[in-house]
């Protein structure tokens, strides 16, 4: 009797596992093949629309609380008068830090405006956006921005930041979007440099140098050379946007291609504001 009950329980346990695994595999398949993209992207859109305001609310509450606790931990043991003076110093330091942060944001905006004036970008309608989160997953170099489909952001739109190209939009919900950064391992863009040399710029993961692929061993590439988008690779990006600078060039005897690495012009780890270019391929 007990053995039969144990066998029944064991069967039920395995059935549960099988059902959940099959359900997961079905969801993965539907998402990957795009057959039910309306459903999967709809679910993602709904989740994002629910969590975005919550995230903003929690962050705005936690910031002052964090500062309060930091002050309590650091100055709790001092005498009252000392405490008052110390708190004044802390307040001044916070104000200076805020000034530094504001001036950093100001510099970023100035560099963003400089990008706007480039002939290759000036004619394309742009949507300014604020960066709300950086690298939501450890497995993807990305940023989240506070503009989405309702403001005109579409999947595949190029995104520029202070200095140059930042990446492209990979998901867009009603009110926000995710941008895959240049450094992400899946990022591949068509670039040109020097005298109309074409190549592909590949991301190798966050905080790692970019790799320029398919540079013939006979090509002339110099360290510090500017790399811009070529407008090729399916026309996903407008030509002429500054992307990166060459940091190293290595020729290998017998190899058909040179090994060339580059660094993005935009500081991808400290982005505050970006612009989404509404590029349709013929803008």
């Amino acid at each position: 009797m007990a053995r039969a009950a144990r066998a029944r329980r064991s069967r039920r346990t395995l059935t549960t596992l099988l059902v959940l695994v099959l359900l997961s595999v079905t969801i993965i398949t539907l998402d990957e093949t795009g057959r039910a993209s309306f459903l999967t992207s709809g679910m993602k859109s709904l989740a994002s629309d629910i969590y975005s305001p919550l995230r903003t609310g929690v962050n705005s509450v936690l910031d002052p609380v964090g500062r309060f606790f930091a002050g309590a931990v650091n100055y709790g043991s001092l005498q009252q008068e000392n405490q008052k003076l110390q708190n004044q110093i802390v307040a001044l330091e916070h104000s200076r830090a805020a000034d530094a942060s504001a001036s950093r944001q100001y510099r970023q905006l100035q560099r963003l405006l400089a990008i706007d004036k480039l002939p290759s970008v000036a004619s394309i309608p742009a949507i300014p956006a604020e960066v709300t989160a950086q690298n939501v997953s450890d497995f993807m170099a990305s940023i989240s921005i506070d503009k989405g489909r309702d403001q005109g952001v579409a999947i595949g739109d190029p995104v520029v930041g202070p200095g140059g190209l930042v990446g492209e939009v990979v998901t867009a919900t009603h009110s926000n979007a995710t941008v895959r950064l240049l450094t992400d391992g899946k990022s591949k863009i068509g670039v040109s440099f020097g005298r109309q040399q074409e190549a592909t710029l590949d991301g190798e993961g966050a905080n790692r140098p970019l790799q320029i692929q398919y540079v013939p061993s006979t090509a002339r590439v110099l360290r510090g050379e500017l790399i811009v988008t070529s407008g090729l690779q399916g026309g996903g990006l407008p030509p002429g946007i500054p992307v990166a600078r060459v940091t190293s060039v290595r020729s290998i005897v017998g190899a058909a291609d040179k090994q060339v690495t580059a660094r993005p012009l935009a500081d991808l780890s400290g982005l505050s504001y970006v612009e989404v270019l509404q590029w349709t391929g013929s803008s």
């Binding site: 039920r12 346990t13 549960t16 596992l17 959940l20 695994v21 359900l23 997961s24 595999v25 079905t26 969801i27 993965i28 539907l30 998402d31 990957e32 999967t40 679910m43 993602k44 989740a47 994002s48 969590y51 919550l54 995230r55 929690v58 962050n59 936690l62 989160a133 690298n135 939501v136 997953s137 450890d138 497995f139 993807m140 170099a141 990305s142 990979v170 998901t171 995710t178 895959r180 992400d184 391992g185 899946k186 990022s187 991301g203 190798e204 993961g205 966050a206 905080n207 790692r208």
Partner: protein, 172 residues
């Protein structure tokens, strides 16, 4: 699972996800941030067994997948397998031995992260292998090991049958 258990579990998953995308996301060690969504199936597996571990893993994984641009369902599959595995292996032993949940959380989190990276790469997400996997594994495993104790207690509360929570109520 009773309706109340399901509601409690869903509330815990929703709250943990909110903590993950707000507080935890700002914690960075060498570029990697902790991932406490993997802790839920591990804690559920320890607290209640393989079925509950797998179910919580599926729900928590799916919820986590909804807020990232990575393919939907990978975390759900990993969560299901890890939750089930922890529940099946630990039996009732881990619950009784002090400190063992910490070790289980440490090793199961490492397995979960590696499984996630391999599954992602197999499904064409080449960027999953372009990360410092060692650092990511270390950060996630250590954080989850530290938080294992409270997480197991919370999941035990969520997944306990009404009679288990108040033994006096069932007595004549």
């Amino acid at each position: 699972m009773s309706g109340r258990m399901v509601l409690r579990t869903l509330a815990i998953v929703a709250l943990t996800l909110l903590v993950q995308v707000t507080v935890i996301l700002d914690v960075r060690v060498d570029g990697a941030s902790p991932e406490i969504m993997f802790l839920l199936p591990i804690a559920a597996g320890i607290a209640a067994g393989p079925v509950e571990g797998a179910a919580v893993g599926f729900v928590a994984g799916l919820a986590a997948d909804l807020l990232t641009a990575t393919p939907l369902g990978i975390s759900a599959l990993v969560g299901t397998l890890v939750g089930f595995g922890v529940g099946a292996v630990s039996g009732g032993v881990v619950r009784e031995v002090r400190g063992l949940p910490t070790l289980v959380a440490l090793s199961a989190s490492a397995v979960a992260v590696m499984l996630y990276a391999v599954l992602g790469a197999v499904l064409g997400e080449s960027q999953f292998l372009h990360v410092d996997l060692g650092v990511v594994v270390a950060v996630i495993s250590v954080t989850n090991a530290v938080l294992a104790g409270p997480a197991v207690r919370i999941m035990r509360w969520a997944l306990a049958a009404p009679a288990e929570r108040s033994p006096a109520r069932g007595r004549p």
